[in-house]
Symmetry: C2
Subunit: 320 residues, 2 copies
C-alpha cells in the first residue's frame, strides 16, 4: 500500500494582530498556503509584508503576504485561525461563513470561557469549531510588526460542529490541527475537553490580565511585591475552585506551576494591559463574567474575582 498524498490545507488568518500575525507567519514559512484578512493594517502589510521580532526565532520577514482587506476576496479555507478579540465574536459569523470551506475547522485563538457560544448559533452546524489556548508572550509594535517575547504553545480542543457526536472524528480533527502547528515548529497539544482547557488558561489570565490593568504594570513588578503575589495566588486558587465547581478538575499544583513559570519570564504586559492603554474594550465577559456566572450557577462564589471584575468594569467604562 502507498499512502495517498493529502493536499496541503489552505489556512485563513482572521484578524492579523499579534496572535494571528505570529501563527500565520510561522505557518506560511513552514510552507502552508496562508491567507491573511486585515483591516486597518492592510495597506502596510500588502506593501511591506509581516515582520516578526522574536526572542526565540530571531528576526523573520514574510515579504509576499497573501493579504486581503475584504473576506469576499479570500479563497475558501480549510482551517480558519481567529486572532481577533473575543469582544467582537457576535459580529464575526458572516465573515467566517464567507471564508470557510464546506468542512472547515475554525479555531478561536482567544482567551476566556465559552467564547465559542456567541458564534456557534450563527454558523452552519457542520462547521467544526475549536478552541485554541495560546501560551505565548506576543504583542504588536506597529502595522504588520509583531514582537514575540517567549513561548508559543497552542492547546486545541473540539468545541462543536459536525463531529460533535463522533469521538474518533473529533480526536482526528484536533490532532490534525496540532500537526499543522508541529510542522511550523510550534508546540501544540490535543486536549480532550475544550472547557477544561479554557479553565486551565484562566488560572493565568484571571490574575495577570486584570491586575496589569488595575495596578498599571507588568508581570515583573507584580511578582516582586509581597502583596500582589498573595493576591495573585488567592485569585488563582479561586479559579481552581470555580473550575472544580463546574466539574473540571485542575490540580492545585498547576496554579503553583503557572506562578513559578511567570517568575521566570521577562517582564510581560498582558493583552488586557495593551487593550486598556489603547482604549479598546477589555475582554471582561470572556475572562471574568462568564467564569463567575458558570461558578455561581454551580453554587460557588468567587469573591476576589468578582471584586476584581467589578473594579475592571468601572475602569473599562471610563476608558472609552
Amino acid at each position: 500500500m502507498t499512502a495517498v498524498a493529502q493536499p496541503s490545507p489552505r489556512i485563513g488568518i482572521i484578524g492579523t494582530g499579534a496572535i494571528g500575525g505570529f501563527y500565520g507567519l510561522m505557518l506560511a514559512r513552514a510552507g502552508f498556503d496562508v491567507h491573511f484578512l486585515l483591516r486597518s493594517e492592510y495597506a502596510a502589510v500588502s506593501e511591506h509584508g509581516l515582520h516578526l521580532n522574536s526572542k526565540v526565532h530571531g528576526k523573520l520577514h514574510l515579504s509576499a503576504v497573501q493579504a486581503y482587506a475584504r473576506a469576499a476576496d479570500m479563497p475558501a479555507c480549510d482551517w480558519l485561525l481567529v486572532g481577533t478579540k473575543s469582544t467582537g465574536n457576535v459580529d464575526l459569523a458572516p465573515t467566517l461563513v464567507q471564508v470557510a470551506a464546506p468542512d472547515a475547522r475554525i479555531v478561536l485563538l482567544q482567551n476566556g470561557l465559552d467564547v465559542e457560544d456567541s458564534l456557534r448559533e450563527h454558523l452552519p452546524p457542520s462547521l467544526h469549531l475549536l478552541g485554541g489556548l495560546c501560551y505565548i508572550g506576543v504583542h504588536r509594535s506597529g502595522p504588520g510588526v509583531v514582537e514575540h517575547q517567549a513561548l508559543g504553545r497552542v492547546n486545541l480542543g473540539y468545541h462543536s460542529g459536525g463531529a460533535a457526536d463522533d469521538e474518533a472524528g473529533r480526536k482526528a480533527i484536533v490532532e490534525e490541527g496540532a500537526a499543522l502547528f508541529h510542522k511550523a515548529g510550534i508546540e501544540s497539544q490535543a486536549m480532550a475537553d475544550v472547557h477544561q482547557a479554557r479553565w486551565h488558561k484562566l488560572v493565568w489570565n484571571v490574575p495577570y490580565n486584570g491586575l496589569s490593568v488595575l495596578l498599571g504594570t507588568g508581570t515583573t513588578a507584580l511578582m516582586a511585591d509581597e502583596s500582589s503575589r498573595e493576591l495573585i495566588q488567592a485569585l488563582m486558587a479561586e479559579v481552581v475552585q470555580g473550575a472544580r465547581a463546574c466539574g473540571h478538575d485542575i490540580a492545585a499544583s498547576y496554579a503553583d506551576q503557572m506562578f513559578a513559570m511567570t517568575e521566570t519570564m521577562d517582564d510581560y504586559l498582558p493583552s488586557m494591559y495593551h487593550d486598556h492603554v489603547h482604549k479598546r474594550p477589555l475582554e471582561l465577559a470572556a475572562i471574568y463574567a462568564r467564569p463567575l456566572a458558570a461558578a455561581k450557577a454551580a453554587g460557588c462564589e468567587l469573591p476576589r474575582i468578582q471584586a476584581l471584575y467589578q473594579a475592571l468594569s468601572f475602569i473599562d467604562r471610563h476608558n472609552r
Copy 2:
C-alpha cells in the same frame, strides 16, 4: 446653691491639617483657649492665620492664632485633639506627654481600628485616651487654608486611661468632650464603646477610601457606576460581617444608610485619595490590616477587603 463656675478648658490641636484646623478654628471662635501645634505650615499660619472656606458656615478667618512650631513651647492643655495621620502614631507619644496637663483627655480624631494601641503603651496610665470619629468632608487647599464641604459630626468614645475601671467617670469625660463640640456648634455623640464606633466608621472608610485610590476618582463617579456600586455594597457587607465576628453588632440598615447618605453628597475625594496624590503613606494599617486581622482572629475571612488591601499595598509601595 449656686453652680461653681468651671474654668474653661485649654485645648491643644496636635497636627493642624484639615481636621485639626477645622475643629480648632471652630472651637477658638466659640471662645475656647485653643493652641495649635504646626510643622511645615507654622510660618504661614503665624502670619496669616487660619482660613476656613465652608459650604456650611461660610468663609471664616481666625486671625490671631496661638501657633507653635515646637511642643516644648506650648502650655499644658486639658484636651488634646490629634489630627495627624494614624501612620505617625508610634512617634507621637513624646509630643503628647509634653503638652498634656496631668489629667488631660487626648482625642484621636483618626480613622481606622485600634489606632490608640500603638500610643497607649507610651503614655502615662492616668492620661485619658479617647477615639473621635469625624463624619466630615474636609480637605486642605493650601497652608492654613481648609475647605469644608459637608457635615462635621464627631462621635466620641473612651478608649483607656485613669477612668478605665470607672464607668461613670468614663461617661462623664466623654460627655464633657461632646459638650465642648456642642458649644462650637458641632454635632457630637458620646458613644458607649469606642471599638464599636470605629467599626461603624469603617463601613464608610473601607469602600470609599480604598476605591478612590484604586479607581482614581471621587464619590460621585463611584456612585454613578453599577459595578462600583455593587462592589461598595459588597465591601460594606464584609465590614458588618467582620464587626459582628468581633462582637460589635452593626445593623445591615446602617450600611444602607451610609450608602444612601453618600449618594446625596457633592463629589467628595476621601483623605486617602489626597494622601495618594501627595505621595504620602496611606493609612492601610488602621483602615484595612487591623480590621482584617481582628476578623481573622475571630475566625472570619473578608476576601474582598483583603483583595482591596493587597492591591492598595502594592500601590502604596510604588507611590513613594
